[in-house]
């Protein structure tokens, strides 16, 4: 971390990147205590409690990747522990001479493999449907374990031999292997949070449709996340099975384990590094207390159920984020926030970045970069886009105007596949793209802003920009995003739009105009050939409108092609050529600004009942 940039960080969303050495010292001390504990105490009660806590910590931390980062709440996480357990059980019974430890990594592989399959089949669902599917998955795996007797020995279960090592260190191997697995799990979580993959997952959580438009390959990201959330959990499950020495469907695939995992993650704090770990230790400790000191079974139900209710209502973000916000509130109390700070004056793109490819305008061929042919999309009886056709010449700033409800935004949505067109063709650079998904279109050079900005609200400005994926490859998912080359490029683009000072500000804290600027920097990260701007001048102050115009012109001078929807007529007429007029879902006129201004049909359309200049209000 660069110390000088830390100084201007008012409210970071990445607690573990903060050089709060005291915190690290405590974490280190806790780690040391954890490692030496079995050597200084032979109390098997606490050893057992820690062993179970470690298992749940791995499980919750894994869950955190798919549920905390990507926002897909899963109640089937316990299944991966069970699959790991069954892996070691089945193999240890088949190969009695081999050490069961050999099968622990394999437990992880099996869990990740099943996660891959589940990922494929559950991709179509989201929100509650996803939660239900994960529950169904858990029970289905259980039913299979019950009925596939030849492999699993059915409800009778599998018994593992007792470990043969010295009974004085009976729990040590389980204990230390789990510590190591947890360390690996945390390392992976920490690493993912810093990579393109992690940025993409959080983007998916915040706004999945938008994430697709900035080049994030949704299915691949989600499947990779699913596998990552299962890998170490499967290994921990294998150790769990060996530790219990008995594996049966009811115990291994109990829904209560999944509930405990999700509760641990929520209480500690989702999408944080340490939250799930702290939650797991806390919940398991409460669990044991409830069982040993507070009355047993029914108390445990009250405790778990009550905690879930209380956490969801009062502590939806969990302990760590709650403490974080208290601390940051105390730290910034009395100091002016950055939100009121001035937007930078920006700079010339050519001098500050090599991220955006610059083209000599004289080399631009005279051809259509984007061609739309007879595009259609109806919503019930509403013919939002009804046979629109037009072209955007390469190197132009093309305007798209029309009365409210004429289908401009829907047209944008069709072009970038936010909504799938019913019929018609879309060609980018001479290539059909109407069969492609949003991220594929983005990779081919299509960038798009939204009428009402759609930044990822819980991410910082910098993270919003580095979340963009210019092209797709598995390898680049593993690239570090929050520092290094990606961060540098993002900062340069933020400099260009004048928002560099805000880089560590959360997007939701920005003003509407500031959000527009960041969204522009965000899509520039794609280095698009064609930039679709949906009302770039809407709802922002005149100074900013002027600045917006300048930037568009500058980008255009370097060869960027624009398609702009805008209600601000002077802005459009001063900037765009050619201009297409859309009415009732079709293009009714095209031409230079002068031609459009003189076209009687256009004047008629605008002066008709529809002609109301909409007031755009910042959210």
């Amino acid at each position: 971390m660069n110390a000088s940039t830390e100084a201007v960080t008012p409210a970071p969303s990445r607690p573990w990147l903060q050089p709060i050495w005291l915190g690290r010292a405590v974490a280190l001390a806790a780690g040391v205590l954890l490692v030496v504990y079995p050597m200084v105490s032979d109390d098997i009660y606490y050893q057992n409690m820690i062993i179970l806590s470690l298992i749940f910590a791995v499980g919750a931390s894994g869950l955190n990747i798919i549920s905390g980062f990507a926002g897909y709440i899963s109640l089937g996480q316990g299944a991966f522990l069970g699959l790991g357990g069954y892996t070691i059980g089945v193999l240890a019974v088949r190969f009695p001479d081999a050490s069961p430890w050999l099968w622990v990594p394999l437990g992880g592989v099996v869990a990740a493999g099943v996660a891959l399959i589940l990922g494929f089949v559950s991709l179509r669902s989201s929100g509650p449907a996803f939660v239900i599917i994960t529950v169904a998955f858990l029970f289905l795996v259980q039913v299979i374990a019950v009925n596939w007797v030849s492999l699993t020995n059915g409800t009778t279960g599998l018994t593992l031999p007792l470990p043969t090592w010295d009974r004085d260190i009976m729990n040590w191997p389980f204990y230390y292997v789990l510590v190591a697995i947890l360390a690996l799990q945390l390392l992976m979580t920490w690493w993912i949070r810093r990579t393109k993959l992690g940025m993409g997952l959080i983007a998916i959580r915040e706004d999945e449709t938008k994430a697709a438009t900035i080049g994030i390959n949704l299915p691949v990201q989600k499947i990779v996340a699913f596998m990552a959330s299962a890998l170490f959990v499967g290994m921990a499950g294998a150790v769990y099975g060996y530790y219990l020495t008995f594996i049966d469907p009811r115990g291994m695939f109990s829904i209560l384990i999944s509930v405990q995992l999700i509760l641990s993650m929520l209480i500690g704090g989702k999408a944080t590094l340490w939250g799930p770990v702290i939650g797991a230790f806390l919940v398991e400790w409460l669990n044991e207390m409830a069982n040993n000191d507070w009355g047993g079974g029914n108390t445990r139900l009250f405790l778990f159920g009550g905690l879930l209710v209380v956490v969801v209502i009062f502590l939806p973000k969990g302990i760590i984020p709650a403490i974080e916000s208290v601390l940051s509130w105390r730290r910034t109390k009395g100091k002016a926030g950055l939100v009121g700070a001035r937007i930078g004056t920006g700079g010339s793109l050519a001098s500050i970045t090599d991220r955006v490819q610059l083209v000599d305008r004289s080399e631009i061929p005279d051809r259509a970069l984007l061609e739309v042919r007879d595009l259609k999309r109806h919503f019930g009886g509403v013919k939002a886009v009804d046979g629109a056709s037009f072209t955007v010449p390469e190197g132009s700033i093309t305007g798209l105007i029309g009365p409210n409800g004429s289908g401009k935004t829907t047209l944008f949505n069709l072009i970038d596949d936010t909504i799938r067109a019913e019929s018609g063709e879309i060609l980018l650079d001479g290539r059909r793209i109407d069969g492609l998904r949003s991220w594929q279109r983005a990779h081919l050079g299509l960038g798009r802003t939204f009428q009402i900005t759609r930044l990822f609200r819980e991410m910082t400005v910098l993270e919003n920009v580095v979340a963009v994926q210019r092209r797709f490859s598995i390898a680049q998912l593993g690239r570090i995003a929050v520092s290094g080359a990606e961060a540098k490029a993002a900062e340069e683009l933020l400099e260009f739009v004048g928002m560099r000072a805000f880089r560590d500000q959360q997007a939701r804290a920005l003003s509407y105009g500031q959000q527009k600027l960041v969204e522009l920097a965000q899509i520039l990260m794609l280095d698009p050939k064609l930039i679709l701007l949906d009302e770039p001048a809407g709802g922002i102050n005149p100074v900013l409108i002027e600045r917006m115009g300048e930037m568009i012109r500058e980008l255009n001078s370097y060869g960027k092609t624009f398609l702009i929807v805008e209600h601000n007529m002077p802005f459009v007429l001063g900037l765009c050529d050619p201009i297409h007029v859309l009415a009732r879902g079709r293009t009714m006129a095209s031409g230079t600004p002068e031609e459009i201004q003189r076209d009687p049909a256009v004047i008629d359309a605008y002066l008709g009942d529809d002609f109301v200049l909409e007031e755009k209000v910042a959210p």
């Binding site: 239900i132 039913v143 829904i255 778990f304 936010t418």
Partner: protein
């Protein structure tokens, strides 16, 4: 042939009771976008209340519906006010977790009050059947099915023929517009939640007579009910009825012609397949949180 007919008949009778139990779940989802995981717990709670009325006061368990249902209705209303309404605007996944927590609390409470032993309600007719030709129709199931149909028709009448029903549908389709025309959406929501729970209560009174139960039985019920409403289409009452009947048949036929040990897999397999192939269910509208704001 008789065997098949008998199995179909049993499946249909089962489906009628399932339909009643599932109607509340789908109603609550349709209006409030809340998947009430605690639905099964309230169903079992109603079974226990029915047991208590039958055991302590000798009230016929099926007639006791007129007492049980209002009690459960009140409980549902209180539940809504205390725990559900604070998170009305939270993401759906949060409400799933919340109601799951609720289910655990209700389970614990039932264990404290009535104990964790298996409980059975056996009125005099519990194990008798009507015999028709070679077929048998268990009396409790026939009565239960008839009551289920009556309650469902009443519910349907309320939803389609009354001002309240129109208010409920308005609140479901467009809450903000409903507020504009003078519908208190929060009051409607509380009412719908209570009504949905009450329907589960009526179902619980019947199932308590049909099958023995323990506090933990609610897991099996919520799994079935979810499968039914997902199959029928979340939020669709007609869908729930159709789904319930198909589900009852599927379960019965799997048990009879495949193997009873796979019958319990039916709900999960159905959920899985439906959400994959036709996420909106048989009669439902598409279930998506991220409806495009265009």
């Amino acid at each position: 042939m008789t065997e098949l007919l008998q199995n179909l008949l049993l499946g249909l009778l089962l489906g009628g009771v399932y339909a009643l139990a599932a109607s509340g779940l789908t109603l609550i989802f349709g209006v409030m976008r809340v998947i009430n995981i605690a639905h099964g717990a309230y169903l079992i709670l109603a079974s226990f209340i029915t047991y208590w009325l039958w055991d302590s006061f000798g009230i016929d368990p099926l007639l006791a519906i007129v007492i049980t249902t209002p009690i459960v209705f009140a409980l549902g209303w209180v539940t809504y006010k205390v725990v559900v309404s604070p998170i009305r605007t939270a993401p759906m996944a949060s409400t799933v977790l919340l109601t799951f927590g609720l289910a655990l609390v209700v389970e614990g409470a039932m264990g404290e009050i009535w104990g964790n032993n298996s409980t059975a309600i056996r009125p005099s007719y519990a194990d008798e059947s009507f015999i028709m030709g070679g077929l048998f129709l268990p009396k409790a199931q026939v009565y239960g099915g008839l009551i289920a149909v009556v309650v469902l028709v009443l519910l349907w009448g309320v939803l389609t023929k009354t001002w309240l029903g129109r208010a409920i549908r308005a609140a479901a389709t467009n809450p903000s517009s409903a507020e504009l025309v003078g519908i208190k959406v929060s009051a409607v929501a509380a009412l719908v939640f209570a009504l949905g729970i009450a329907a589960a209560g009526a179902g619980g009174a019947i199932t308590g007579v049909l099958y023995p139960f323990v506090p933990g039985s609610h897991y099996q019920w919520i799994a079935r009910l979810l499968a039914i409403v997902v199959l029928g289409g979340l939020g669709s009452l007609n869908g729930a009825v159709l789904g319930a009947i198909m589900f009852g048949l599927a379960e019965t036929l799997t048990s009879a012609y495949v193997s009873p040990s796979w019958a319990t897999a039916v709900p999960y397999a159905i959920v899985f397949l439906v959400l994959l192939i036709r996420p909106q269910g048989l009669l439902g509208t598409r279930l998506r949180e991220d409806a495009v704001a265009a």
